[in-house]
């Protein structure tokens, strides 16, 4: 069959087969939109988050079902590989969906405290954004990739701005929008060159063409690759394309910040890995060095920039920048050989780390929400004496921070260790060492927060300190985060074995 010119008929069952979770999410999104039109404002406010939660849970179930489908029938595809169904997509989708689920649950508390927020819009934008992310994980064509990227991005811009009347939120959204759109332009521009040389928008076919044309058209292909890298780099906040992140993270509402940090970033990685592995696999031995430099730069600058940071959200933003550096390493290792095992290993590392990152980031933002709200500011000082006020939150926050810092028996540590093993495996000793050396530098600021939590005195000893409560929704997220972080850290095999059983690609 001629993939470029042939026409195929697509039935709904085919579509359902491949993209059931996405469809459910889209339909539910529109349903909430309509629902909002027909019911009273109060009901809509109350019910739409729950509708969202239910939708996401259903989508999760469907994704899990898709694992079975892939296992039984092999990977599926839609419309000349415009969209594929494989475990690579599934596993990323799970991360997105759980991220969205946790975001939604956290948002319930956020809605309560912020009556001005348009809850239904918020909810369906979140769902749409997630659909965009899911598209990025499953798309197999530059067009679908770009569409997915933009769905996520545009939804995110609005979500950041959703805190009505909050100047910081709109400013953050504006910054995100400007930089994000420029990045989109870079991506599109880069894609145009790739397309121009290969004549393909399909990644796999494009990859074949690239391999053929590489010798001849290297500068243009490289130009396309690098332009795309810059654009993607903005989305996953690689240094020096990261500067929007602290401002946007600070401006956005806490649930949205965690959504950006987790879902948006994970989606970016899904996209990058899919594109680069399929599109540039054969040339990766030459290209990986650029990624390696970005990884190193991101780890160093991300961690160093956080040192002087006193605002906890900005600090976490820098931390998440640094995490992007760590996460890039598995992809870099593929430059030293793209055999199947290496790819599987690299994907396993990325997904494991992202899973751990999901739990620790969500948990940290849940605690942060409660603490900063009570303190009325977002500086580290808000955490002073937290251990006295709420030992549970203090301990939970410590676990999350330690996990981010890469201290043992946490998911963050094992994730790093796993990435580290991959780097050593391919002989990238320097990058492996840098991974843990920059982590050691990061101790400085993570432990700075920890010290505030444990060492800080809010008041004279002996006087009663007001206890700090935790709304049930945040509490739930903290517990999930805690269990996930420690569980993945202590029994990584629970997840590793799952990852090892996957049929990543066709």
């Amino acid at each position: 069959m001629n993939l470029t010119t042939g026409f195929t008929t697509i039935t709904f069952s085919d579509v359902w087969h491949v993209m059931a979770p996405e469809l459910i999410m889209i339909l539910a999104g529109f349903a909430i939109l309509l629902f909002d039109l027909f019911v009273s404002k109060g009901t809509s406010r109350r019910l739409s988050p729950w509708l969202g939660v239910v939708t996401v849970i259903v989508a999760i179930v469907l994704v899990i079902r898709n694992f079975g489908v892939v296992a039984a029938e092999g990977p599926g595809q839609l419309s000349n590989m415009l969209y594929v169904l494989d475990d690579y997509g599934n596993v990323f989708k799970l991360i997105f969906l759980f991220g969205t689920l946790f975001t939604l649950i956290m948002s319930i508390d956020f809605f309560k405290k912020n009556p001005l927020v348009a809850v239904p819009e918020y909810t369906y934008l979140l769902l749409f954004g997630t659909v965009g992310a899911m598209t990025m994980a499953s798309a197999f064509d530059l067009i679908t990739l770009f569409v997915g990227l933009e769905i996520l991005s545009i939804s995110s811009y609005i979500l950041v701005a959703m805190r009505k009347g909050n100047s910081k939120a709109t400013e953050g959204a504006m910054k995100y929008l400007v930089i994000g759109s420029i990045a989109s332009a870079f991506v599109l521009y880069g894609m145009s060159f790739i397309y121009g040389i290969t004549g393909q928008t399909n990644i796999a076919l494009g990859g074949q063409m690239i391999a053929q044309m590489w010798m001849e058209m290297q500068p243009v292909l490289l130009l396309g690759f690098l332009l795309m890298l810059v654009g993607f780099g903005v989305k996953i906040s690689l240094v020096p394309f990261h500067q929007w992140a602290p401002d946007t993270y600070e401006g956005a509402a806490n649930p949205i910040t965690s959504f950006l940090a987790v879902v948006s970033k994970a989606a970016g990685f899904a996209l990058i890995i899919r594109t680069f592995i399929w599109g540039f696999a054969r040339e990766f031995g030459e290209l990986y060095i650029y990624l390696a430099i970005f990884a190193a730069l991101t780890m160093i600058v991300g961690n160093v920039a956080a040192l002087a940071q006193k605002n906890i959200k900005r600090l976490l933003a820098y931390s998440s920048v640094a995490q992007a550096g760590y996460l890039l390493i598995p992809l870099v290792t593929l430059g030293k050989g793209t055999n199947e095992h290496n790819i599987w290993l690299a994907l396993g590392e990325t997904v494991f780390y992202l899973a751990g990152y999901l739990f620790m980031t969500m948990g940290a933002f849940a605690v942060l929400t409660a603490v900063t709200r009570e303190a009325g500011n977002e500086t580290i000082d808000a955490f002073r004496g937290l251990y006295k006020r709420s030992p549970f939150q203090a301990v939970a926050m410590s676990v999350f921070l330690l996990s981010m810092a890469g201290m043992p028996i946490t998911a963050g540590f094992f994730g790093k260790f796993y990435i580290f093993l991959g780097a050593i495996n391919t002989g990238l000793y320097w990058l492996a060492a840098l991974l843990f050396v920059t982590s050691a530098i990061a101790f400085y600021y993570y432990f700075g927060v920890l010290k505030a939590i444990f060492a800080g005195e809010t008041s004279e000893e002996g006087t009663a300190v007001p206890k700090l409560g935790l709304p049930w929704s945040l509490n739930l997220i903290v517990w999930i985060g805690l269990i996930g972080t420690v569980g993945l850290g202590v029994f990584p095999n629970l997840f590793l074995d799952v990852l090892n059983g996957l049929h990543w690609f066709g």
Partner: protein
């Protein structure tokens, strides 16, 4: 007959103008328009390649359609945010938007 290079050069110039505008103009609307310019430069590229590329194919034109739609959506959202911004801060100057820094 116009050659590929000329189209590509035009696109590159447009891209650079857009970039320059996005990075220097004070008014957010102009910034948004400049970004549109960048996206359109990419669109020109896509179309050029769809017509004159090494392997001419229809995909490029399809891609352009999608890109245009997306650009429009982006601009719309951008304007919406601008309005919110203006309500909050009473200004549409990009350089005034530095509540968050350091």
């Amino acid at each position: 007959m116009l050659s590929v290079e000329q189209f590509l050069t035009l696109a590159a110039i447009l891209f650079c103008i857009g970039l320059y505008g996005a990075l220097t103009k004070r008014n957010i609307i102009i910034v948004l328009v400049s970004i549109e310019l960048m996206l359109n430069a990419a669109n020109i590229n896509l179309l050029t390649f769809a017509r004159f590329g090494l392997v001419p194919a229809i995909n490029g034109q399809v891609f352009t359609l999608f890109a245009m739609t997306i650009a429009a959506a982006e601009l719309a959202v951008g304007l919406a945010i601008l309005i919110a911004l203006y309500r909050n801060r009473n200004t549409s100057d990009v350089r005034d938007q530095d509540l968050m820094k350091w």
